[in-house]
């Protein structure tokens, strides 16, 4: 399978994109921000961060491959950066999907957040599974580790957002 050699980039971009977006969503929910702000901040962060991450991936691949000045080397690095960017955007958008539906239909924000966590949890499980295949490690351990990372990031973000909101209100 041609795509197989790009799986590490897919895992790398997916984990980063999902964790980053989930943290933005959870932090914004903790700080009681509105639906539109959550979507705008989430999307802005997703695109800017995804692009800069893909660029840094490209730069590191090119600097690690200093001796290979061929077009083929550049093309390969570009492909890998492209996969990182695409997976960052595609999988990283999952935490925002339920909130996007909230733009068209009036749905309770807390319910949207719960659905978002559920969908993101499924995404983490899928990434964990692929990661186990890439690293040839235990599937269960990989899924649990990836899920734990997401839960930790979301918990931290929500806690900081909530704590800040309480602190500001008490001032």
């Amino acid at each position: 399978m041609r795509f197989k050699k790009f799986l590490p980039e897919f895992v790398y971009g997916s984990i980063d994109g999902t964790v980053t977006t989930l943290a933005v969503v959870a932090g914004a929910m903790g700080a009681s921000l509105g639906l539109k702000i959550i979507i705008i901040m989430g999307l802005a962060n997703l695109v800017a961060d995804g692009f800069s991450m893909a660029m840094s991936n490209y730069a590191s691949l090119r600097s690690a491959d200093k001796d290979n000045k061929s077009k083929q080397g550049k093309k390969e690095a570009r492909k890998r950066a492209g996969i990182t960017f695409s997976s960052f955007l595609l999988i990283g958008f999952i935490p925002l999907v339920p909130f996007s539906f909230g733009l068209f239909k009036s749905i309770n924000l807390n319910l949207l957040f719960l659905i978002s966590i559920f969908c993101t949890g499924l995404a983490f499980m899928l990434i964990g599974l692929i990661k186990a295949k890439v690293n040839q490690t235990s599937i269960l351990t990989s899924i649990v580790k990836t899920l734990s990372l997401g839960a930790l990031a979301a918990g931290l973000a929500f806690g900081v957002g909530y704590g800040l909101e309480q602190l500001i209100q008490s001032l």
Partner: protein, 106 residues
């Protein structure tokens, strides 16, 4: 310094703390055992605080409307601090040509 500015700086710094912790856990869980680098962590926290403060200052000073608001709230400064820190970290990685700024434990 007025209360508004203090709350904006605090929120931006909190965004930086969040970004630093999430970044550290991400590399710790995803890739390998990594070293915690306090100097880098503190630099990121400071930059995020500055990003939050700059966004608030620009919006306030130029009379801009950002996300439908005339004035950035501390909650938004928190998210801007987080996202800004993340973005600047990636720009730094482009310049240095590194995939990760967290070093593996040896």
């Amino acid at each position: 310094m007025d209360t508004y500015l203090i709350s904006i700086i605090t929120a931006g710094l909190a965004g930086g703390v969040l970004r630093g912790l999430v970044g550290y856990f991400k590399y710790h869980f995803s890739y390998r055992e990594v070293k915690f680098k306090p100097r880098y962590f503190l630099a990121l926290v400071g930059i995020s605080g500055l990003v939050g403060l700059l966004a608030a200052w620009i919006t306030d000073d130029l009379g801009l409307t950002l996300l439908g608001l005339n004035r950035i709230s501390p909650a938004i400064a928190l998210i801007i601090g987080y996202a800004g820190g993340d973005f600047i970290e990636n720009v730094f990685k482009i310049i240095t040509g590194k995939t990760s700024l967290y070093l593996p434990k040896n």
